[in-house]
């Protein structure tokens, strides 16, 4: 495999299609995620943003099209394999292990990232290779002091933060974040904006978000998805100025 060059896209999507019956949820989508960038994906509800993410991570099989990750075609890999390659996602609806404490949740992510889960003897809770990074990411996501609370007992916003902590703990090659700002609250929103801004240096982010304050503050590029098609890609300024986008999506927030 040739060494990918610095400015080559990390993630390359070409001609992706997916239909549910008559509905074309993804309609010939091509998209790049380049090193160091935050690429925001916006669009009306039901435009197909989450469906696109699900196809990238391998939860849904596309009908056509191809996905390359770091130069490698990953179409044949299952979801777990893609995660191991370094594609981390966050879920639009928080998806955490309810009975686990916040700490255990993030430890699991650390373990998953290390690829060594078939270890049978060492007590995980005493394994500092797991606990230390986990605690670090919990604090990073703004959940300091809440690490011993079972995820089921966290408030909605706190659970969203846990979702972020788990994504961070995967230390991936690329982030796919589905509405990370949702439920965050005002303060949490600011904090997350700061985190994501720094994170892009570590790994590029494909950011699906309806919070325009965050998108405008963070995005290096924005793509707009409507009825499964990319209708525009460009800088924040270009997108804000696009009349079609203003009409179908932004409304007064342009």
């Amino acid at each position: 495999m040739p060494e990918p060059k610095r400015h080559d896209p990390i993630l390359e999507i070409r001609g992706l299609r997916k239909s549910f019956g008559a509905l074309a949820a993804t309609d010939n989508v091509s998209l790049d995620l380049r090193p160091g960038e935050i690429h925001a994906l916006i669009g009306p509800n039901g435009a197909g943003k989450s469906t696109l993410i699900k196809q990238i991570v391998g939860e849904i099989r596309p009908d056509a099209g191809t996905i390359r990750f770091e130069g490698q075609v990953i179409d044949g890999l299952d979801a777990a394999a893609r995660a191991r390659l370094g594609l981390a996602r966050s879920f639009q609806v928080s998806s955490v292990i309810a009975d686990f404490t916040a700490l255990q949740n993030v430890m699991l992510a650390v373990a998953g990232a290390s690829g060594a889960v078939f270890r049978f003897h060492r007590p995980a809770l005493a394994d500092r290779k797991l606990t230390e990074p986990a605690l670090f990411h919990i604090e990073q996501a703004g959940l300091a002091g809440r690490h011993l609370v079972p995820a089921a007992a966290l408030s909605h916003g706190e659970r969203r933060k846990l979702e972020i902590a788990m994504a961070l703990a995967l230390r991936p090659r690329a982030f796919l974040l589905d509405e990370p700002m949702a439920g965050m609250g005002l303060e949490g929103g600011w904090q997350l904006t700061a985190i994501l801004s720094e994170l892009r240096a570590e790994a590029p982010i494909l950011l699906v978000e309806h919070d325009m304050d965050a998108v405008f503050a963070l995005a290096d590029r924005v793509s707009v998805l409507v009825y499964g098609r990319v209708i525009a890609t460009g800088s924040v300024a270009e997108i804000r100025a696009n009349p079609e986008v203003r009409r179908s999506y932004l409304g007064e927030e342009a």
């Binding site: 549910f20 669009g43 009306p44 509800n45 039901g46 435009a47 197909g48 943003k49 989450s50 469906t51 639009q92 609806v93 809440r146 007992a153 966290l154 408030s155 909605h156 916003g157 706190e158 933060k161 509405e179 949702a182 439920g183 965050m184 609250g185 005002l186 303060e187 949490g188 929103g189 600011w190 309806h210 325009m212 179908s248 999506y249 932004l250 409304g251 007064e252 927030e253």
Partner: protein
């Protein structure tokens, strides 16, 4: 104006852990009240107590002058509390149409009117809720609550995950509902919109009401202290 909802020093626990330490809240007929506070401060828990989804452990709750402490959740709902819960909670295996009709009660809100508010739902009428997009589910949850034709609409982060244009329409709808005389209790993070529609705000901090007052009196200083703006 008559008092519709009145909470006095409500406390509540999740098992051994106390979550509410004294919530006091008033909501008059036709009023829009915003419940505000940081993550994990007890907004949702307050709402769960009002809808009787969990028991409270102290204080009093009155709806239209009636003590609702001993009532069950369905009773309270039939007294006119329509809930749009946190996290949508649509009935996953049911279709959009079934979700809307499952608890419908007669009144001004019917299928046609909900579809007019959310045209997207009309297109997806026969689809099961599980496969709806996040925003579509949120629309469905709001529509479902409206179909019960409530007197008091309780919106817990009801605009989460909605596209800006749709969010805008929701806020317009809220204004319209208010104009029609519906009372609304809402939790939302958009200060800008709240400032425009709400009459009053209640701020909770660590499970207790720390401030209650007219929306105009909510100063930047308060917002900074309690909401972290």
């Amino acid at each position: 104006m008559t008092r519709l909802l009145e909470l006095r020093d409500v406390t509540a626990c999740y098992g051994p852990v106390q979550a509410l330490f004294g919530i006091t809240l008033d909501l008059d007929q036709g009023e829009v009240v915003a419940l505000m506070g940081r993550n994990g401060m007890g907004k949702t828990t307050t709402i769960r107590c009002i809808s009787r989804l969990m028991p409270h452990s102290g204080g009093s709750l009155r709806l239209a002058g009636r003590d609702i402490a001993g009532l069950t959740a369905p009773k309270v709902a039939r007294l006119g509390v329509g809930l749009v819960p946190e996290g949508r909670r649509c009935f996953a295996p049911l279709t959009v149409a079934e979700n809307l009709t499952v608890a419908a009660r007669p009144g001004p809100w019917d299928m046609a009117r909900v579809c007019a508010l959310f045209p997207r739902l009309r297109e997806r009428m026969g689809q099961v809720a599980r496969t709806l997009s996040g925003g579509e589910q949120q629309m469905l949850a709001i529509g479902r609550a409206l179909m019960t034709n409530p007197r008091l609409l309780v919106l817990d982060e009801a605009t989460e995950g909605l596209a800006p244009v749709v969010r805008h329409e929701i806020w317009q709808a809220v204004r319209r509902l208010k104009a029609e005389g519906l009372s609304i209790l809402l939790v939302d993070k958009s200060l800008r919109e709240i400032a425009q529609v709400a009459d009053r705000a209640v701020i909770v901090e660590r499970g207790a009401t720390v401030w209650q007052g007219g929306i105009a009196d909510l100063t930047a200083d308060l917002a900074d202290r309690y909401l972290g703006v």
